[in-house]
Amino acid sequence: MQLLFDGTAQLLDEMIRAATLRHKVLARNIANIDTPGYRPMEVEFSEALKLASEEGELPTTVVRTVVAADRSADVGRYDGNAVDLDRQMAKMAENALWHNAMIQILNSRMNLLRTAIRGG
């Protein structure tokens, strides 16, 4: 039962959740495009996962996400709002692709399992 319980399915599930959370954060930034003094936020992934993937091992740890202020944002507007619409839209499109890719991988794993159950 390696295919089902090797932790990858759980990791994919966590990644999909993380993408959903990131979409919410970006949605919030876009909604507040005209709110004076609003600073954008971003989802950051914890160091634990980064280390695991840098070592080339399959990361089996739970994906930890932290919602923090977007460090790359700078205030260029007179009202103190630091939302850059182009950047936020690009991030959102990228995040949606990422989310869809995770689901695609999850589905191909399931199809693999289905093939195995049917016996070819």
Partner: protein
């Protein structure tokens, strides 16, 4: 799943707020020549004050179905700019010197504001469409 619905709700609050803003711009343009209002005097330009909904913390984002972080119209303010005097002695509202107090509305400014509101509206519509595509993809799991 709940989180995606919440994202759509957040963008919907922005759609509503931008819609209010666009309505006020329409009102400003329509009343650009109005010298008599129920409160007396010429029409005064109206604008919105936008604010972030709920406490501006990070906690609200982690709760599914929470729409704090959306945008809301805190209040509608009237411009305190002095009226624009226009010389027109034949106008019934002209004062003893022949000047009429006209609303100080700059159509160029209103149009620029309208474009800004309309772009913000479009950005939020796009965000909702992206959320919908993510949701549709989520429904494909296991299919």
């Amino acid at each position: 799943m709940g989180s995606i619905f919440a994202s759509m709700e957040i963008n919907a609050t922005a759609l509503a707020a931008q819609r209010v803003r666009m309505n006020l711009i329409a009102e400003n343009l329509a009343n650009a020549e109005v010298t008599r209002t129920p409160t007396g005097g010429p029409y005064r330009r109206k604008g919105v004050v936008l604010g972030t909904r709920g406490t501006p913390g990070f906690e609200g984002l982690l709760k599914a179905g929470d729409v704090s972080g959306g945008v809301e119209v805190l209040k509608i303010v009237e411009s305190q700019a002095p009226p624009n005097p226009v010389y027109n002695p034949s106008h019934p509202d002209a004062d003893s010197t022949g000047y009429v107090a006209m609303p100080s509305i700059n159509p160029v400014m209103e149009m620029v504001d309208l474009m800004s509101a309309s772009r913000a509206y479009e950005a939020n519509v796009s965000a909702i469409q992206i959320a919908k595509s993510m949701m549709a993809k989520t429904l494909e799991i296991g299919r």
